[in-house]
Symmetry: C2
Subunit: 342 residues, 2 copies
Amino acid sequence: MRKKSHSPTISDVAKRAGVSAPAVSRVLSADKDFVVRDETRQRIIDAAKELNYQPSQMARGLRVSRTFSLGIVTPELDNPVHARIIYGAERAAADHGYSLLIAHRSPDMDEASIYERLVRHNRVDGLIVATLQDEQTGVPALKKLDHPFVLVNRKAKGVPHYVVIDDEGGSKKAVEHLVALGHRRIAHLAGESHRYNAKCRLRGYRAGLKEAGLVYEAGLVVESGYSQNGGAAAMRELLDSGVKRPTAIFAATLLAAAGAMSVLREEGIRVPEDVSMVGFNDGSIAEVLAPPLTTVRTPIDEMGYQATSALIKHIEGDEEFVGTTLPSTEIVVRASTAPVSQ
Amino acid sequence: MRKKSHSPTISDVAKRAGVSAPAVSRVLSADKDFVVRDETRQRIIDAAKELNYQPSQMARGLRVSRTFSLGIVTPELDNPVHARIIYGAERAAADHGYSLLIAHRSPDMDEASIYERLVRHNRVDGLIVATLQDEQTGVPALKKLDHPFVLVNRKAKGVPHYVVIDDEGGSKKAVEHLVALGHRRIAHLAGESHRYNAKCRLRGYRAGLKEAGLVYEAGLVVESGYSQNGGAAAMRELLDSGVKRPTAIFAATLLAAAGAMSVLREEGIRVPEDVSMVGFNDGSIAEVLAPPLTTVRTPIDEMGYQATSALIKHIEGDEEFVGTTLPSTEIVVRASTAPVSQ
DNA sequence: TATAATCGCTAAATCGATTTAGTAAACAAC
DNA sequence: GTTGTTTACTAAATCGATTTAGCGATTATA
């Protein structure tokens, strides 16, 4: 009395249409090399529809050695940036008939073993690597698998399969925005220096300064990491460092900006009257901060979407795969930035 | 020249161990009814290890009609609450050797068709329904599938398979906290009245009032929904309504609290000096608000974990499945609550 | 010594699709 | 009228596991 009603199989459809199973298979997969009379084709299609036939991906996959599933490896599931990458990836996968399997990597877990589990155990057709932790060990591990993969949100040496946002360009825009408001002493709360995004954003910051004819001052750059606590600590460090106080700050992330603002508030330094603040990557948090935060908005979900689409194309035989940098970034001006005083 | 090196199959292992494929299968799956000499068993285990053999879930699934995968249906992937449910679900799935397939439901998508796609197309063994939208249509749709499922974060009539947090108890604690601080005019920014969680939290609010001997005043409850914009609008409505201003507010969500606080700020009403604020569900945002928000912390990821574990047990033949309400909730006191003034 | 029971395994069927090879029927060409 | 082509399909093999049925060898029982 366990299972009574199975899903209809290809033979059920074949029987109903009065043909053989292969005929059904080839008609439904629109095989060009298979010649059928229109009438037979129609019978098959009708039968499939009437039974609401869905081919078993398992049986299909067993034969063609594919699972039609992709694995996405992500740290910090509750980080909105990663959530949006997954969101984009999920849409792309669904659009192409693939399913998306998520694997969370907690910081203590071995990177390589997660990749291996997805490829060997789950047999995913491809891997979406959302934040590769360590280029030194991660990239060789990925390459050794000899399986299609794509890097999201970072590049790595010798890996042509990546999709990133324009961290550098966006950061430059942030600086330009501040410069346009008259700021000339602009600090940067930077991510950890070994991180890909951190490097790009720092580079963009420097490019912005340079273009405005401002000199880079090492004392105005403090490593904060990406977190709110890091942002707070870095802000405090900056205030205590003895350098002349900046009139504006560009933080490497939204959370770091938020953390920095809470320190400023404690110190009685007003935003934006005394100091303007810009954060990187937009998010709903930006709106509820006091004051609402000016940010650089980036196409995060688009990044997930494009990476996944490209991966699927690659899996399905499209040999060329060129890395993509999504250009569109824009400043979302809120209340945390204002013209420099006096 | 396509694929050279396949993953090792059961026959590879069998050959290497000098036995038949079934022997390998039964030894590796620790089949009690299969009698082997210890030496043969060891040869098989060694061979499997040497080849790094992983059984193909596809072949296995085809035979036993299971995919060893679960589908989780979630709205608003970038909502931290849902992210944490997924996080918990992913861990539970991994712990039991299942994989987790995520399906995002955007508000415009038909609920039933997503369930159906997961069950019919992806053939998941079970469904984790994280926020059922509409009880009237959703529950019959789920039941019609005749497939194991579990409701997370809400109950529904006639569905014994659910895991929820203690919305009511947590809300009561929020009120108790405020009462302990001397507040007697406590408002509630409520979720939409048809939502499960909203109802529970309102009930908890009323229970808290009652226990403190306070009378429920309809004018102090405003429907805000769960979002920051909703919280802001409701706050404004409350201020404009003409009722005597409350000294404390319990908001149904963290975001609603944040939105409400931004309105208070605009109006020059200080938190917590003039009004105390508590939000439901903790999250990192709480720490960066001005002031940092007192919240009710709930075991969200635990909810995802337990729901998934229970679902798997159910799939694997455990007939009994009793709904669970996770008891532990606690107040996280931050700077947004203070003793009532005068 | 013949028969039964137990041990330790294997052969073959099966799951539901795809793919390769092939075949019957209709028609054309020589 | 035989051979060759084309048309429209089908039979059988296959993917990699599990499961059912069963078989030869050894030990126990009558």
